[in-house]
């Protein structure tokens, strides 16, 4: 059997060997960079002039060439002050504990590599910048500019913008783009929180009393208003009633014109009417015998003859 014949007889084995070898060669002499990454290739320690773009690239194996990969996605980083916060003083000497975070990405891999080599080392520097800058900027403002119901006096956004601006200036030469600065916590020291509680309790007491006083006052106002309104309405109704009564009296007076014929008789009749009206069953009446018709009780015989019926 010749050599050629042997090759063709065992071609699957040879092909398999080629494939496996190809895999190993590709794995050793190439590398992939994702869209989310950027990289620097160093050749015997000298970095490439341009960062490597995403895709498949060839390289010499280590130690000739070495690939430094950097994640270029936005990273939310709060540093060491993100854990417990950092105590600082405001311009009016109020102690506060702040914790801020930043969003950053590696915008220039070459500058970043030249400055820090690795991301953890870069973050150590970034952490120092965050601490220093936030202390400095918060120290320019009063406590009343951090918390305030008046939007014109509230400066938290302004503070963040200032920190962002200063961090950008510091980080940009190192290939870091800081895109956002936010506040993770804004606290006060433990000892102050106790006094805040006492103040809150005191304020609530005042507020509770105020609520009660306001409630009482409003209730009293409602009652007074309605009483006044009621009195007004009744007064008006009474006036109207008086007018109606006056109309009635005036109308009645027209009929009294007839009494002019004999005022004495009219007065007498009115008196009799009054008697009928006044005298009720439960009245106790005391009269003397001078009053008619009881004067008959004291008449003597002579008078009786005159007063009594005459015998014919």
């Amino acid at each position: 059997m010749t050599e050629n014949n042997k090759f063709f007889t065992h071609w699957p084995t040879v092909l398999l060997g080629f494939i496996v070898a190809a895999f190993f060669l590709v794995a050793i002499f190439s590398f992939q960079i994702d869209e989310t990454e950027t990289a620097i290739v160093t050749t015997l320690g000298t970095p490439s002039e341009e960062p490597v773009k995403p895709g498949l690239h060839l390289r010499w194996p280590y130690p000739i060439q070495k690939v430094y990969r950097f994640d270029r996605r936005t990273r939310c980083f709060s540093g060491t002050i993100g854990k417990d916060g950092q105590e600082t003083s405001t311009r009016d000497s109020q102690n506060i504990i702040i914790s801020i975070f930043i969003n950053y990405r590696i915008s220039d891999a070459l500058k970043f590599y030249s400055s820090f080599v690795t991301i953890p080392q870069g973050e150590v520097q970034l952490n120092n910048w965050i601490r220093g800058t936030s202390l400095e900027v918060f120290g320019r403002y009063n406590f009343g500019q951090l918390v305030n119901v008046d939007s014109k006096k509230m400066c938290l956004t302004k503070i963040q913008d200032e920190i962002l601006k200063e961090l950008k200036v510091k980080a940009e030469p190192s290939g870091i783009d800081v895109s956002f600065v936010g506040i993770n916590s804004l606290n006060i020291p433990e000892s102050i929180s106790k006094s805040v509680f006492d103040r809150m309790i005191q304020e609530r007491k005042v507020q509770a009393e105020k609520f009660l006083a306001e409630g009482k006052s409003e209730a009293q106002k409602i009652r007074t208003d309605i009483n006044r309104k009621r009195d007004d309405i009744i007064a008006k109704a009474t006036a109207e009633a008086k007018e109606i009564r006056a109309q009635g009296d005036a109308e009645a007076a027209r009929y009294y014109a007839a009494y002019k014929k004999s005022p004495e008789l009219a007065a007498f009749l009115r008196k009799l009417d009054s008697l009928r009206t006044i005298m009720k069953s439960k009245t106790t009446l005391i009269l003397d015998t001078d009053s008619a018709p009881f004067d008959v009780f004291k008449m003597d015989a002579e008078k009786l003859k005159i007063a009594g019926p005459q015998k014919k």
Binding site: T74, L186, I226, I244
Partner: protein, 375 residues
């Protein structure tokens, strides 16, 4: 000679045994080799076919495909096949609603059994809380509802973890901690909540403007997230709890009670107002009705009196004394008839006399009657 023959036979026998052993070994090796080839080919076939397939559940997930690390496309539904790794890579992201709880609560500490939890000063770094615009302290609990609406942006711009469906990776560097998208959303919410809380009054947040407070935070959070270009949409934000610190809770409850008591007073006054309004209307109607009745009565009475007078007057003109006497006596008898207690006292000649009369005898009678019934 015999010995020579015997030795040759033995050698031949040994050669035969060796040859047959070698043959068996070669056959075994051949079988193993064929088996290995079959296994490798099987793995190759599986690798080139099944490894490149993936299925995307519509509305639940999206798959980002990369070719040698370069973005190829995003697939939101159906079956797809690409040459597998290392040529292509498939990254699956969840696109359905996800909930991220965020709280500003004090750390839980052991309690004394049988006793209600006691409030105590808050320790920064352990206890989370918020400072309001009037420098008071509150605690809140939130839940962010979000989803990935642009997987490509999410893939490119957020530091998603190795397992995109899992929690953010905690980086074990000199400054340990997460850097991923959930951390980003949590931090953005922190920022929004702190800013909004620091601009509002504690009472507004705790009571009447709770909804407004939540809406302001949501609005600010949406704005911040949109600026991040991270492919995430904030569907909603739940404010699950907002409360004062435990130590001040009784004071706040007292305020609520005072408010309720004040409202009760006002409600009672309003009730009185309605009642009085109704009463006064009734009274007005009554007053006017009485006046009208009076008017009618007076006029009718005057008319009747006038007619009566006219009729009496005719007779009176003719015989005044008789008419007057008759009228007087008639009236007196009519009136006196109704009166039960009448006393006629004779007039003494001297003009002075003492008369003692027990008035209101009915009261005495009634008293006697009551005492009898009591006995």
């Amino acid at each position: 000679m015999d010995n020579l023959n015997t030795n040759r036979d033995v050698r031949e026998q040994q050669d035969t045994l060796y040859e047959s052993g070698m043959k068996s070994l070669v056959r075994s090796m051949q079988i193993v080799f064929v088996f290995l080839v079959v296994v490798i080919l099987g793995m190759l076939i599986r690798f080139l076919t099944l490894e490149g397939y993936f299925h995307v559940q519509k509305g639940q997930e999206a798959v980002v495909v990369l070719r040698f690390g370069k973005y190829v496309g995003t697939f939101n539904e159906g079956w797809h096949w690409f040459m597998p790794y290392p040529i292509h890579r498939f990254i699956t992201f969840r696109t359905n609603r996800q909930i991220l709880p965020v709280s500003f609560l004090p750390a839980k500490r052991p309690q004394i059994p049988g006793q209600p939890p006691q409030g105590r000063p808050l320790v920064p770094g352990q206890d989370a809380y918020l400072i309001t615009g009037d420098a008071n302290i509150i605690h809140t609990e939130w839940a962010i509802n979000y989803r990935i609406i642009n997987p490509e942006e999410y893939y490119r711009n957020t530091s998603w973890p190795q397992d995109p469906l899992g929690p953010d990776k905690i980086e074990e560097s000199e400054i340990p901690g997460p850097r991923g998208p959930r951390t980003l959303l949590t931090s953005l919410l922190h920022d929004a909540v702190i800013k909004v809380t620091a601009s509002m009054l504690v009472d507004d947040i705790l009571t009447k403007q709770k909804l407004f407070y939540k809406d302001r935070v949501l609005s600010l959070l949406r704005k911040s997230v949109a600026e991040m270009n991270c492919g995430v949409e904030i569907i909603g934000l739940d404010l699950n709890n907002v409360s004062p610190p435990l130590k001040t809770k009784d004071a706040f409850t007292a305020v609520t009670n005072a408010g309720t008591a004040a409202s009760a007073l006002v409600d009672k006054a309003k009730e009185y107002k309605v009642r009085e309004e109704n009463n006064v209307q009734t009274k007005v109607v009554q007053i006017k009705a009485d006046a009208t009745v009076y008017k009618t009565f007076v006029v009718t009475q005057a008319k009747a009196d006038s007619v009566y007078f006219e009729s009496i007057y005719k007779e009176y003109e003719r015989n005044p004394d008789t008419v007057l006497m008759a009228l007087y006596n008639n009236t007196l008898s009519e009136v006196l008839d109704k009166i039960s207690q009448k006393y006629i006292i004779p007039v003494r000649a001297q003009g002075k006399q003492e008369v003692r009369i027990k008035i209101n005898p009915e009261l005495i009678k009634q008293k006697n009657k009551d005492s009898k019934e009591g006995a």
